[in-house]
Symmetry: C2
Subunit: 161 residues, 2 copies
Amino acid sequence: MMAEIEIEEAKKEDFDEIVRFQMGLADYHKRINPEYFKSGREREEQIKKWLRKFFLKKRNNRKILIAKANGKAVGFFMGSIHKAHPYCKEEKIGEISVAFIDEKFRRRGIGKMLFEEMIKWFKKRKIKLVEVIVASKNNIGISAWEKYGFREIKKTMKLNL
Amino acid sequence: MMAEIEIEEAKKEDFDEIVRFQMGLADYHKRINPEYFKSGREREEQIKKWLRKFFLKKRNNRKILIAKANGKAVGFFMGSIHKAHPYCKEEKIGEISVAFIDEKFRRRGIGKMLFEEMIKWFKKRKIKLVEVIVASKNNIGISAWEKYGFREIKKTMKLNL
């Protein structure tokens, strides 16, 4: 039997669950690129600090959506609006900063529900361009974003000193 | 006869020259990707605003280097230091935000002089990781950064609404 899925705006009470998801995401990133990423355990403090700051942004510049199955968090999307690079054709862009669905709840359209809700918000805020940054080795992420219509536009290149 | 090249920290008097270079860079970006970038003329105000803000950053978080040939600006590098993404293994990263050498002065090692001066500053500031963001269609840029040892680590993907 399918659990009933509800999409809601994250509240303070959801903070710990989102941290837990993000720690899982950090672990996944470390697995695919241990030279560049650290584990959730190693980055717990930074994740909490970053998330706290995100929660505190002005409400018309950020959105944190959470999906719940029978009241239990099973995924979330975080989006924000900020000034674009000066050469960019848009003044403001929407950014999807993190997106995650609990492995056991994938392939049920929960990501799509969250994504559509986020896009609805961007459109209401008159956003015409949405960007997402993905680790180049994160094939799961890249193909998920491609399915939603995203295409590569920029690369971040790094050099270790 | 080779002009004598000097690398110096940009001063307020260099502002207009840097704007001019950046407008040329915006034009180049529009040429390679007119769907995403606007021309220097179209983005003059945004470029000036962004550059003014960059000049005003704290001196230990930003560096603007300019190369002069017989006193005339022929290229520049802009670098800054900021907090890394929470999953990243480093707390702080150095970013090279813009780099440009006047076409007539390329292939003379001026870029390398600017780059090495920038890296020296990053090292003095204890930076272990430097990143640069490049348009995916900017092959000249990508191969220049590769020559310096940079490797792709992330992609930015975009969706037009």
